[in-house]
Amino acid sequence: MSKAPILSLRGLCAKVVDEDVEILHGVDLELIPGEVHALMGPNGSGKSTLAKVLAGHPGYEATAGSVEYDGEDILDLEPDERARLGVFLAFQYPVEIPGVSIANFLRTAMQARLEEEEELDLFDFQDELLERMDLLDIDPSFAERPVNDGFSGGEKKRNEILQMAVLRPRLAVMDETDSGLDIDALQVVAGGVKTLSAEDPEMTVLVITHYQRLLNYLRPDHVHVMVDGRIVRSGGAALAENLEAEGYEQFRASES
């Protein structure tokens, strides 16, 4: 018997809060635990909007449809509630938070998962953090730096992967839409996802990307093509190669 989906989108429509234009016009998607899915599409197709809606960004609102995570609709949940249930969004442009060290941030995030009276054991946390950094081949001093402040593109991605490693999500949404991703950053993301997937075969990954490059490193089980706020084609890894050769125009043409 097949496993129950970890994420299931049905007819999801969404728009920017305070604006009238709808960006997602009915997205259907189903992710089974342990799968790696790629969501591809041209700029402006709504890929990043989907990532933000999944994570609960306050600037976006779902206007119709549902997002079920582990069998529950999570659209009314705050971003932190979703995170504590195991949803993780790797940001396309992680924000810089001066003065807050990565270690302090992650300690607070881990504390937030505990019950109110429960205190995080700081020694256990420190050991865990060092172990996760070791796994990803990150120097321990990295954790003392302020979150993304003055980081290079590659360092920001490394920080996202480190957070993912510490928080151990069940569903990781990698918003890698940035076409400017350099080779270093690409390898950080791909290597990190591979390492963490190998460690936890039940972790589900949705990689959002514009180019096939990233998918050369991360072989997805399923590839979806999004155009104008809808998924217009789904298929296997070969679909990504077809896109690389033919581009997105074919789908636009078939639409109209």
Binding site: P79, D80, A83, I97, P98, V100, A112
Partner: protein, 453 residues
Amino acid sequence: MSESATTLLRAPEESGGPLPGLDRNAVEALVASGPPWLGQRRLEAWRVYEETPMPTTKEEEWRYTDLSKTLRLGELRLLPRQEREFAPEGAPALLTGSMRSDWAAAGHVVDLDGSVAHTDLEEEVARKGVVLASLARAVETFPELLEAHLATEALPASSGKFQALNAALWTDGVLLFVPRGVHVELPVRVTRWFSGPGRAVFTRTLIVAEEGSRVSFVDEALSADFPAQTLVSSAVEVFARRGAHVQFVSLQRMGRGAFHLSQQRTLADADAALDTLNVSFGASVARVDLNAELRGAGAHSDMLGLCFGEADQHFDHNTSQDHGAPHTKSDLLYKAALDGAARAVFRGIIRVHPGAQQTDAYQTNRNLILSPDARAESLPNLEIEADDVRCSHGATVGQLDEEHLFYLMSRGLTRAQAERLVVTGFLGEVLSRLPLGGVVEKVSGIIEERLRA
């Protein structure tokens, strides 16, 4: 307040007649008890005080803080210096708790209501000629040093009305002298406790660091809330001679009802490094005037400040960076986080005087508004009269960034946790620039405690 604390902090009106007001009689009483040079200085200071009008908001430096309307000097009573003993057993929990949380020190001073009640100094440090003493006693034991430095070059009475008032009426304070070439590894810690509502306390600090010496000085002011207006005036004079390294930290944690006026002047000679950190948490009205003068080539000052306001607190930080010699550098960062109906004023000026070529001077003021009723005023000024300089200033006023909060919440932090973390990080950035043992931890702890409240 506990029984024993009351005993410890017993005010003289319970043991003698009524307390004097801030008047000429009070000055004359002080003049009578000291040496002639000091008496003359006090009388001259009182003359300046009387001649100088109370500052109003018409004056640029007092544009947003109107003491002429809020501070009732006539109602305040002066507490003469007393011989007191400090016994931790009987002291208020806030005072002892704070002292217990401090890290190791080279020496301590405890000041109770403007009278030094305790000093200690590591034997080894004392042997090298370092002096840590009550200023009132030092008038007798180190007369030349005091006559040369006290309210002369750094904070003469002519600096302003409150500087003059302090120079006329000070009762006690701290002298720290570090001889040539001596490095004091651990900081010197001063803890002050103020107890009497309706009083005015005038205290002074004189730090003289001779050529090539090194020392850090942490001065903490504490009190409970006062049911009546209470004034603490603090004058700070710091001399860093050629090549000396001095760190001066002020932690102000007074209760409501307190008016805290801190006038500070730092003089850095050639190649000296003179860094300051002003942390303001408490008081109803807290005004810090800090003038850093870089008067020798190669002198350097880092000037840091942070304040966290809530309810109706009013903070006013007025700084100046005076570059009077070439190859000098100053770098200022002041931050304020404001909750409730708190208000923060920052006015800072960089002056690069003619001839001070190859100067680097920076000034940054950042304000974080956490509530609809809080407000901030920022006046970062530049006056540049040399052309080969690198100067910049920046000021921002803003609220918590929703994108920051979303990022943190997407990792599982609640909104409150995310807000706390961002505010702590915002203020913590200041502390990370002066990593003095125990200060960072103590101040971070206080910030987190207040954010949880």
